[in-house]
Point group: C2
Chain length 463, copies 2
């Protein structure tokens, strides 16, 4: 009987202990969210970044200035250590505002909206002109082959597939035309490429993004055309297959530049030599303000630093807040960060990135095994009251996925994707498209997730 009573007592007390700990944790998560949702600090930081340091493409003066600015913010927020990690970055410049025209004997001449694709070379000052050949995909391009393509301007016009609820899948359904299309067309002798903007929007704004030649073929001029103008071009081609397309770009590659990742640390109390990375990428395309891509992610990382200080949370592992440089072109910042971690044989247990826009957070995309996910899902319930309780296995983020090699569980914040590709890589990615509360709740989700992982992860069996 005595034994049984003891066992009951033990179970009871243990149960109470667990409940009390859960209670404390949910109270802390509530405090984190409250602090995030009631402070304008992050939103005002994003406004500053967007309005004063817009178009932060790697190698640009704005990118250099944003390095300095975020470093100062980290110092002001009281990080234990703040430093720069040098990295050599590519430097591509757009040059003058691009121009383009559809020239038809039937329909006359129509000006259309284009922008040079990142990494493409310019046409020269007089521009280029050629017959336009419309294709749906790279397979069709190859089927037409050199006899048809040589000397022409290839027009990739496959829209994104709108039927996915997740617009990253829509984007993925068409982005090969932009990334590989120009190089594939160049191989067949095309003189230029026009790609339908890879966007969910139907309007007159072109969307840029990287196109890759990778030195396997001569770089040729390549541009994105707005979706409405792509529809127009396609329509005119139906009535007049002899249409000529003219465009002029002055984009070019300059010498590489020296740039930096910005890193701030809060030293861990129990495991100072084990790292947890919270990041976003500081560079952005040059056409907009880089508000959603990825000013929001950077500002959210800085906000987590502020939340930790405001609520006096002391992490057990060392947290690194990292503003990665050059995600858009060559991921040189991410590569440098991963290389340094390897050189120094650093232990990384977690890395999280916000790079899907500053929209309402839905949960976490976790690049780990089902076994690890099952462990992590123990903290899922804490996010139910905030709607950030989708814990899926999936890709994390371009700047952090290589940390898997250092043992890290890498995680991407999942945000509502419906609007992202309306703005992405275009002049529309501006501060006014970011809702304060959506931005704030993303910071709350990251801070809460990191807090719980930092506290409980050491018990995860699979590590």
């Amino acid at each position: 009987m005595i034994n049984l009573t003891r066992i009951f007592l033990f179970v009871f007390l243990f149960h109470c202990g667990v409940l009390e700990a859960q209670n404390k944790d949910s109270t802390l998560i509530a405090r984190i969210y409250k602090e995030a949702l009631t402070s304008d600090y992050a939103y005002k930081n994003l406004e500053y970044l967007c309005k004063n340091l817009s178009g932060r493409l790697s190698g640009s003066p704005q990118a250099a200035a944003s390095v300095e600015w975020t470093k100062q913010i980290m110092v002001q927020l009281g990080a234990d250590t703040v430093y720069l990690q040098q990295t050599e970055v590519p430097h591509w410049v757009r040059g003058e505002k691009e121009t383009a025209r559809i020239v038809s004997q039937i329909y006359g001449t129509t000006s259309v909206n284009i922008c040079a694709l990142g990494g493409s070379v310019g046409t020269g000052k007089v521009g280029i002109s050629g017959e336009a050949v419309e294709v749906t995909d790279i397979t069709q391009l190859r089927d037409l082959g050199e006899p048809v393509i040589k000397g022409k301007i290839v027009f990739f016009n496959r829209p994104v597939d709108f039927s996915f609820m997740n617009t990253f899948k829509s984007y993925g359904s068409a982005v090969d035309q932009r990334i590989s299309g120009p190089a594939e067309a160049a191989k067949l002798g095309a003189i230029g490429v026009v790609v339908r903007s890879v966007t969910t929007a139907l309007d007159t704004i072109p969307h840029t993004g990287i196109t890759r030649f990778d030195n396997v073929v001569t770089n040729i001029p390549a541009v994105a055309i707005s979706t409405l103008d792509a529809d127009r071009l396609s329509e005119q081609l139906k009535g007049d297959p002899q249409i000529r397309f003219y465009f002029r770009t002055t984009s070019k590659w300059l010498e590489n530049e020296i740039s930096y990742n910005v890193v701030g640390e809060i030293k861990g109390t129990d495991f100072p030599e084990v790292y947890l990375t919270i990041g976003g990428h500081l560079d952005s395309w040059d056409l907009g303000e880089g508000a959603h891509d990825d000013g929001a992610g950077c500002i959210q990382a800085l906000e987590v630093l502020r939340l930790y200080r405001a609520l006096d949370i002391k992490p057990r592992h060392t947290i690194r807040f990292v503003m990665f440089m050059d995600e858009e072109i060559a991921q040189s910042g991410a590569n440098t960060y991963a290389q340094l971690a390897e050189n120094r044989d650093e232990k990384h247990f977690l890395a999280i990135e916000s790079d899907r826009g500053g929209f309402t957070p839905f949960g976490f995309s976790i690049d780990a095994s089902q076994e690890v996910l099952n462990e992590i899902e123990k903290i899922k319930e804490y996010f139910e009251p905030y709607g950030a309780d989708k814990f899926n296995i999936g890709f994390s983020g371009v700047d952090i996925y290589k940390l898997k090699q250092r043992g890290a569980i890498t995680v991407g914040l999942i945000a509502d994707s419906q609007r992202y590709f309306d703005y992405h890589h275009s002049a529309k990615d501006t501060f006014d498209k970011v809702n304060k509360r959506e931005l704030q709740s993303g910071s709350g989700a990251i801070a809460g997730f990191v807090y719980l992982m930092d506290k409980y992860t050491p018990g995860f069996k699979s590590r």
Copy 2:
């Protein structure tokens, strides 16, 4: 042995049957979403409604025209029956553009942005002026009492509580000042009331909404002031308690008007006498275009009709698509609909309303017992791929909740709430604030939910 084999076979075949049915259902849900996400029809309808029939307050010409327009849409979409339900609606008009000034001996005179609250009377052509008394809530107002309040202008200045993730709770934390504040102030002899706009935005735009006097007290002029102007007034009051507030409104009540609910039906194949209602409210406040509140909900209901026809879905129960009139002032359309249902002893098994903005849908707020919810949750898994899988017990919608008395399960579509109260009841509630895909996915969620409920609900034990 033979018996056992038979049992196994039966179980196996039954299992296959269930799996096949589930498979068919998820295929149909996928077709519904695909059709919703790839058609511009609903979005263009919303644009038409917003741009041509903005400010559809009950009794207004725009409300009358929108009745006619939605009726025609229902006919075009091929509803089996389309008809109007007559209802007598209140008719309140704003009159001329309101003006207001803070007049201080110390700070000078400052113009501020206000709008008359719905249901309030005007000040007369010369306006009114009085000492401003700032209060946080109705309790504080009563504590000050008649000696302090009589002859003054009461300034309710409690902001919404931003710490809730669900902004309907934020709204609920402050809206009593607008609904009951003016009447309570009038009881104590106030000559006018200024209420801080009940919004999550910090800007210069005032937000209207109903204020209720209910004939228990003389109606006095009452206005909403923009949040930035409320901050300014409060700040100046700290430095100069003698401040006078001046405002001028010419709003008034006119005679009631005859208006209508618009109803379209698809006749049920199995239970034509049992009804399923899909609704939104056609009226809106006069200041904006009524895009999110509740143009989006109306257009989504119409889109469900289109989806049913496009996919040739034949409902077992009769579906009614209802554009309710006068949600904003007196709910006369909703009352008429419920009263007619009672008079005719109609059987209603489900009613669903979208009136929380055309934002990304998260799931369904179901006004039913836990037992009924448990049954309904059997269809929850179908919505997981689309992120609309939150099935909560909660309030449904202002226009449909009375149908509970007819036996209906009433349901509200839950949408992302972060932006709603930035726009709500203000000049900012315009078409450009609605994202096409968010609107479309709401239609998909409603159509999918209705399809599954229509198909399986008869088996729910609790009905």
